[in-house]
């Protein structure tokens, strides 16, 4: 297990390291002069000031030196300051990150709670009308753009029915965005769970369990579910990353104050330090969650736990 986990952690570290490199290079890929673009709106900036910014971003140095500077600051927890408003990027991000995480986690929860039972039921009734119906529902769910689903939910539950609040970041406000993100992912989970469970149900060991005379419920609960759940767990890491990505859109629809909304604003404002910080944070979160889920997997699967 430790070997398994250590490679995962090493891989994660490599990913984050690569992110730092890409993030440093990012600003160079911008067509035109990034500093000019960033400061163009402030009428008072002097050429000296622009030079100063260039220096502080290290843009006057060679790329390796820039990278070294960037890393040095990064290791001190300094992600630079925002162009709009001149505040520490780290603060700006840390203030919003919890909101995004809460959203992604609740959506994950919804996806699991809805998707896995549906997938299980469909697998259990494989080939039946129930199965077909559920899977049509699932493929429709996957095909539905979540920004559209979000708008529809907003329209019905907030505007038409007035059941749920639409401003602010309270727990009630979480319902719609989490539902939007959760439902589309529930469809994915349902399909995954179904195929994984069907795989398992067709395996010899399930037949063996039946052959022992075990009642169906026990076979399903103890043998099918445990084994069939493992591939679903491995997918969760990827799915979480997907949630984080989806959060970017959903946050914008529901005015949820997370890093996704911040990122889109920053892109429009060409606030490169914020964009850099966002990319870095995003990949750290995704990597950490992926490692966590791998660890969970390692604990659940004896083939890895005992290796």
């Amino acid at each position: 297990m430790w070997r398994f986990l250590s490679t995962r952690i090493a891989m994660g570290a490599l990913t984050i390291l690569a992110t730092t490199v890409l993030v440093t290079l990012l600003i160079h890929a911008v067509p035109g002069d990034p500093v000019q673009i960033m400061y163009a709106q402030s009428q008072g900036t002097t050429p000296e000031q622009i030079e100063e910014v260039r220096r502080s971003l290290g843009l006057d140095r060679s790329i390796p030196v820039q990278y070294a500077m960037f890393m040095e600051r990064l290791l001190q927890g300094d992600l630079g300051t925002t162009i709009r408003g001149g505040q520490p990027v780290l603060d700006v991000i840390l203030q919003r990150l919890p909101n995004t995480l809460v959203l992604a986690c609740s959506a994950m929860f919804i996806a699991i709670v809805i998707g896995i039972p549906i997938g299980f039921l469909a697998a259990y009734r494989e080939g039946s009308l129930v199965d077909t119906g559920l899977m049509i529902l699932a493929i429709a769910g996957i095909s539905m753009p979540h920004f559209w689903l979000g708008l529809m939910l907003l329209f019905f539950f907030a505007l038409e029915l007035g059941w749920l609040p639409v401003s602010g970041n309270g727990p009630l406000n979480l319902i719609l965005p989490a539902l939007t993100l959760g439902l589309s992912n529930a469809a994915i989970f349902a399909r995954l769970t179904r195929s994984s469970m069907i795989d398992v149900m067709h395996q010899d060991f399930v037949q063996t369990a039946y052959a022992k005379g075990l009642p169906k419920s026990l076979v399903l609960r103890r043998h099918v579910l445990r084994a069939g759940f493992l591939p679903v767990v491995t997918m969760m890491g990827l799915q979480f990353a997907f949630m984080m990505g989806g959060a970017i859109v959903v946050e914008n629809i529901f005015s949820w104050n997370g890093v996704g909304r911040m990122a889109v604003e920053a892109i429009f404002q060409r606030d490169y330090p914020v964009i850099q910080g966002f990319i870095l944070t995003f990949s750290v979160v995704v990597v950490v969650v992926a490692i966590g889920i791998d660890a969970l997997y390692a604990v659940l699967d004896p083939r890895i736990r005992r290796a």
Binding site: K212, G213, L218, H223
Partner: protein, 564 residues
């Protein structure tokens, strides 16, 4: 003696996509206490379906008809509860997948006893340990806490048997319980099953495709083909006087380990031939890559292997799974790069060739693979596949190439018109013939055949072996023949090399090795192989112990080398 189980006119129909197929049709048989009934037949003949029907484990789209009387009730009647576990137990072919990977052995052994109310957990555990001991698993206490992946295939199969026996069924169905195992292990499992039947007087239904297994274990035989019963009767009668032509064909097709093969007469001549290819001190270690930084376990697939292949002979490589046979074949064909050693063909060391010269040299050694399905590019007409070596190495025109392909197809027993078809339009045996034709197309001096018949049904296996024997006789083909099936080897090989764990333990003329095996491992291997002769005494074999000589080869008799 009245029958424990009486099956009458059992039929299974499978409905899929609007079509209905009969997978088993009017199968009838009886099983009595202490009786071993063997159901044999080729792959897909409906053996497993019959078993599953009795267990009530058919897929949802299958329907069953007929009667199966057990304990005074008809198992196949609508609404009747299946007697799984305590009535009838089932053991599957593949011990790797028949146990739930995420549960401990202990849980899996005891859960049914507890659920079915046969014992409380503590009692169940005690019985489980005792049963593990009974089926010959060392340190049963510890095993209870282990997971299936921590056990070897043979042990898992024993656990399976123990699991079913703990429920004290009256009938045990074993569906090809040894096919996935090595011969030596297979023999032990068969012994175990026989012992259990003798001691507990249960009825055993043993499903197999191997006539050798039948002859060694069963009292009665049921031969099936395409869902129908071809013939049924006591084993002695079936083997001595089969009434159905199919049964006879099945028996004829089985290579007999206990009789010398047809090629044996050529031994003397071939042995005199000059050395064609010689492998010297070849070693290969595989490093299983566990990840980016962690390097996984190393497997020594070949450990300082040396051998010569003589012009015109068939050298067989035998050994258990994982012993390195394929690796050696692949090193010789340069499909795998060796770590050390040399393979010389004529003056050339094949292992040092690269680029163009390697490609040019490749035509001299061709390979025939085990899996005929995967051996041909599914998206090429077989004519194109066969012509490929010709296209690469010659400047023949398209028409000339077609001629050559036609000739080759005829040579392997197909017709030239078939060149325009795609692989999926052929049967397995035909595909293997095509693969052989392609190997011949290059005009090789040596053919490496890696278990070319083990994926085929027995009747077809015999035809392919005959073809290879013909080619050898008529074209003077030199062949390195890899197999784990000793009977096959005896039929076709001039000389045999026995491998284990990457080393050659014994090497000598086939007959000499068979009749006077010098290495204990070789002897165990020969002992364990089932012999399709029910009249042979069925003795209990000792397991192969791990400690024997694996040192350098020494010539014990003329041309007969044994590890020291």
């Amino acid at each position: 003696m009245s029958a424990l189980l009486a099956v009458r006119d059992l039929s299974v129909t499978l409905r899929s996509g609007g079509e209905a197929r009969m997978l088993a049709q009017d199968v009838s048989f009886d099983v009595a206490r202490g009786q071993i009934l063997s159901i044999v037949g080729e792959s897909g003949s409906g053996k497993s379906m019959t078993a599953k029907a009795l267990m009530g484990l058919l897929p949802p789209n299958a329907t069953v008809s007929g009667e199966a009387w057990f304990r005074g009730a008809n198992l196949l009647a609508k609404g009747s509860a299946p007697c799984r576990g305590t009535g009838i137990g089932l053991i599957f072919q593949e011990p790797m997948t028949a146990l739930t990977p995420v549960l401990t052995i202990g849980t899996q052994l005891t859960e049914a006893m507890v659920v079915l109310g046969l014992a409380d957990p503590a009692e169940a555990r005690r019985r489980a340990i005792a049963m593990l001991d009974r089926v010959g698993i060392p340190a049963p206490d510890r095993r209870m806490r282990q997971y299936p992946h921590e056990l070897s295939g043979g042990m898992r199969q024993r656990v399976m048997i123990a699991m079913m026996m703990l429920l004290e069924p009256e009938i045990l169905i074993a569906d090809e319980p040894t096919t996935a195992l090595d011969v030596t292990v297979q023999a032990q499992i068969l012994d175990l099953l026989r012992d259990i039947v003798r001691d507990t007087r249960i009825g055993l239904i043993l499903i197999t495709h191997d006539m050798g297994v039948v002859a060694e274990t069963a009292q009665d035989v049921l031969v099936m083909k395409a869902g129908r019963t071809i013939e049924a009767g006591p084993v002695a009668r079936i083997f001595t006087a089969p009434s159905a032509p199919y049964t006879r064909a099945l028996l004829d097709a089985v290579p007999r380990l206990d009789r010398p093969g047809s090629s044996a007469g050529m031994v003397a001549g071939a042995a005199a031939g000059k050395t064609l290819l010689s492998a010297g001190h070849v070693s290969k270690t595989f490093h299983a890559r566990a990840g980016l930084f962690a390097s996984g376990l190393a497997t020594r697939a070949l450990d300082d292997v040396s051998l010569d292949i003589r012009q015109g002979e068939t050298l067989a490589l035998v050994g258990e799974s994982g012993s390195g046979k394929s690796t050696l074949g692949r090193v010789i064909t340069r499909l795998t790069d060796a770590d050390h050693g040399a393979v010389t063909l004529g003056e050339e060391n094949l292992l040092t060739l690269r680029g163009k010269s390697l490609r040019a040299a490749r035509r001299k050694i061709q390979m025939i693979f085990q899996d005929p399905y995967a051996s041909l590019d599914p998206r090429q007409r077989i004519g194109t596949s066969i012509a490929e070596p010709i296209a690469i190495h010659t400047t023949l025109s398209r028409a000339e190439r077609q001629d050559r392909v036609g000739g080759l197809l005829a040579r392997v027993g197909l017709t030239p018109e078939m060149a325009a078809r795609y692989p999926h339009e052929f049967s397995g045996g035909q595909r293997q013939r095509i693969a052989i034709a392609r190997a011949l197309a290059a005009g090789p001096v040596l053919i490496v055949a890696d278990e070319p018949t083990s994926a085929l049904d027995v009747s077809i296996q015999a035809q392919i072996l005959d073809l290879l024997a013909d080619l050898k006789r008529e074209e003077g083909l030199t062949m390195l023949f890899i197999s784990h099936d000793l009977a096959v080897v005896r039929q076709i090989a001039d000389r045999v090399a026995v491998m284990r764990q990457g080393r050659i333990l014994e090497l000598g003329p086939t007959e000499a090795v068979w009749t006077a095996a010098r290495h204990p491992y070789t002897r165990a291997l020969i002992d364990a192989a089932p012999v399709p002769d029910p009249t042979r005494p069925r003795g209990v074999r000792r397991p192969v112990s791990g400690d024997f000589a694996i040192g350098a080869l020494r010539e014990a008799a003329l041309g007969h080398w044994v590890a020291t």
